[in-house]
Symmetry: C2
Subunit: 294 residues, 2 copies
Amino acid sequence: MVESLSKMPRRIAILGVGLIGGSFALALRQAVPDVFIVGYDRDEVNLAAARQLGVIDRGTAALAQAVQEADLILMAVPVGQMPLLFEQMRPHLNPAAVITDVGSTKVTLVEMARAHLGEAITRFVPGHPIAGAELSGVRAAHPDLFRERTVVLTPLAETSSMSYEWVCRCWESCGAKVEQQTVERHDEIFGIVSHLPHLLSFSLVHDIAVRDDAATLFRHAAGGFRDFTRIAGSNAEMWRDISLANRTVLMAELTRYQDQLTQLSQWLEERDGAALEEFFKRARDARRRWQEER
Amino acid sequence: MVESLSKMPRRIAILGVGLIGGSFALALRQAVPDVFIVGYDRDEVNLAAARQLGVIDRGTAALAQAVQEADLILMAVPVGQMPLLFEQMRPHLNPAAVITDVGSTKVTLVEMARAHLGEAITRFVPGHPIAGAELSGVRAAHPDLFRERTVVLTPLAETSSMSYEWVCRCWESCGAKVEQQTVERHDEIFGIVSHLPHLLSFSLVHDIAVRDDAATLFRHAAGGFRDFTRIAGSNAEMWRDISLANRTVLMAELTRYQDQLTQLSQWLEERDGAALEEFFKRARDARRRWQEER
């Protein structure tokens, strides 16, 4: 069936019309002027806004309606809501529909997809655009959000190459650079460079917030604290879902990180200034190099 | 002797002419137009720049020369260099000279001051302006750096009230708000809201930098990582000194923080989404409130 796919999608279903879903819609609209985009969202007000902004052509809170004629389905809801969507949309899928998502964890999601998608798994191309975060909601959507950004695709053994190529082409038409990784490697990388720092940042703020003298402590927090804890202002439900979905990697990384803190404590105990300086220097040099290379 | 102090200093010695020392000099110059400012620095090029920028009237690499006629001495060198300065300047002090500093740790510094300053300890007013950090060096110095910023002063039992009032007035003339704390409470507060996050940020970057696949990991790091690790680009020697000077607080805080990470790991192990969400929510709410109240 995938053989009948045209070069670009004609009818897209965006499940979850927020910053990412909305920006994908706007970018695709520029690449395929006559595309028809249906938005699915549980929030009717949000759907009305998306229609008004020209992000989608039609909005619906009925999943079956959204997906039944779509040749491309982009799942842009929080990771925790995806399993239910897989299950509910399966009976209504167009037999040629290619499915992709934008979730920031992949291993657990793929397990769910395998459990619920049946033969449609061959047309599922898991994805993760590395963009967004500062703003959210469809009003912040922008056709250039993905320009020069990386989109990681993690095709499965079952994924047909035509489905993969198709999703690849869609992201490239948004201006993104596509990179391929395995599902496991994806979760490991983002567990380390993104999920772990979020947990660490939440933990510092929590550690202060629960104290009797929290108000005094917060009053003395300055610029370093502000930057370190910016990500602790993130959505709690979303980070609950990400943490659970990537729990194996996170448990291992938390242990590894704690071992480092134990090492630091030991050097403090022993007043080992040389070891501390060497540790800080290595981090500082790596951080500065990273900044320069961006 | 302090009884003879005029309302504001006439002759100031700035030991360490960088961002903080230089900005103090520029601000005092606006408040006391005929003040004479001598800068002491081991770096002759830096002294020449400070003279050229009008930050200081005279520069010297000889400590005795810098302090002998000063009625106010501001110590703005890294914390690790202060003990030696106390020792070396003591024989050359003007008997009425009031001494203050800008170090970000106080307990260890005060021990050193007590050991080396002799009777001049009655004119020592430990201080800590909460400003700076983003930039460094005398070229970044600015007379408004301390405007609306807090300066914490931690007078000792020995500190004469006139010395305290005098230093207080100087900082207020820079536009700062002065707050009084005990030496121990100061180190506890800043150990928690500043020193601990620095150690945590250095640790995350180090944790990644030592891996075989560091280049791949860094390549996928994005905005959250950038903010979380900005402070890991800080000066390694300075943070070695601060860590050692505040080691007792930091060891206790690292243990407390690790206990939280152990709790997070356990919730991940048990797949306790409700507990994770509650934890993230409390942190998120506190972080958002902090941001709004600034």
